[in-house]
């Protein structure tokens, strides 16, 4: 299982705050659905998978240069390899403080 989180303007654009993806031996499946057999290993591949599964409009939103990717609460780049059980988050530049 991979937990995917979206925050702030990204959450609003996708109209989704979180979702889970089931990983099986062959690749990944959307939770509760059958496996679609697409191989996902990097953050970039996860974005492509999410767009193909949910909505192609997600691709430009999640691929934008300024979108920050975090795996297990550490910032990573798009080539970071995701493992089963990981928490993957997408968010815009931070504006706290």
């Amino acid at each position: 299982m991979i937990h995917v989180l979206f925050f702030a303007s990204i959450r609003e654009q996708l109209q989704t705050g979180k979702l889970s993806i089931e990983l099986d031996a062959d690749g990944i499946t959307v939770a509760g659905s059958a496996s679609i057999g697409l191989s996902v290993s990097t953050v970039e591949q996860l974005i492509a998978y999410l767009a193909s599964t949910y909505d192609q409009s997600w691709l430009p939103v999640l691929s934008a240069d300024n979108v920050i990717k975090a795996v297990n609460q550490q910032v990573v780049d798009k080539n970071f390899i995701i493992s089963d059980g990981d928490e993957v988050a997408f968010f815009p530049p931070v504006t706290g403080g």
Binding site: L5, F7, A8, S9, I68, A70, Q73, V75, A89, F91, P92, P93, V94, T95, G96, G97
Partner: protein, 159 residues
């Protein structure tokens, strides 16, 4: 450099409730009777941002990662300067102009360390801790944009 500040001397809280600067400074003063300096930063909601009137704001965050990021920043400050205590409190939820948003308070023997560390922590919190502000303004709702000046403030410390 003092690299041995115990975890008990680092306090990090993310909360909806307001904070009390006196109470937090008192905690730092009670950690050790050797404290000579406390530098505090308080960030406030301004009534005007980018020339638009702000009536209120909503602060969203990434639970868990915020605390973890701030702890990492505090640890790095503690390695870089000789500190006695660090307290960081960041509020979330609905806030109005003049409300307190964030407190960074740092105690040390001598003031130079506390000044440097307090500004360092704020600069990295601003650019790394996953909080987002959404303002209600006279022109509608809007997500606050990240500032180039904040990124530059952070980058000074890498030199």
């Amino acid at each position: 450099m003092n690299k041995s500040l115990p975890n008990s001397a680092i306090t990090i809280r993310v909360q909806a409730a307001d904070f009390d600067v006196n109470a937090e400074q008192k905690n730092l003063r009670e950690l050790t009777r050797s404290v000579g300096a406390i530098v505090s930063f308080v960030g406030l909601v301004r009534d005007i941002n980018d020339a638009v009137s702000v009536s209120s704001m909503e602060l969203e965050h990434y639970p868990g990662m915020t605390e973890r990021t701030i702890k990492d920043i505090a640890d790095k400050a503690n390695q870089r300067w000789s500190l006695l205590g660090i307290t960081v409190i960041h509020r979330i939820g609905a806030l109005a102009p003049t409300d307190q948003i964030v407190l960074v308070a740092v105690s040390s023997l001598h003031r130079g360390d506390a000044f440097q560390a307090c500004e360092y922590i704020m600069d990295f919190l601003k650019t790394n801790a996953p909080f987002w502000k959404k303002e209600k303004t006279s022109e509608g709702e809007r997500w606050v944009d990240a500032r180039v000046t904040d990124k530059k403030a952070e980058q000074r410390w890498h030199q």
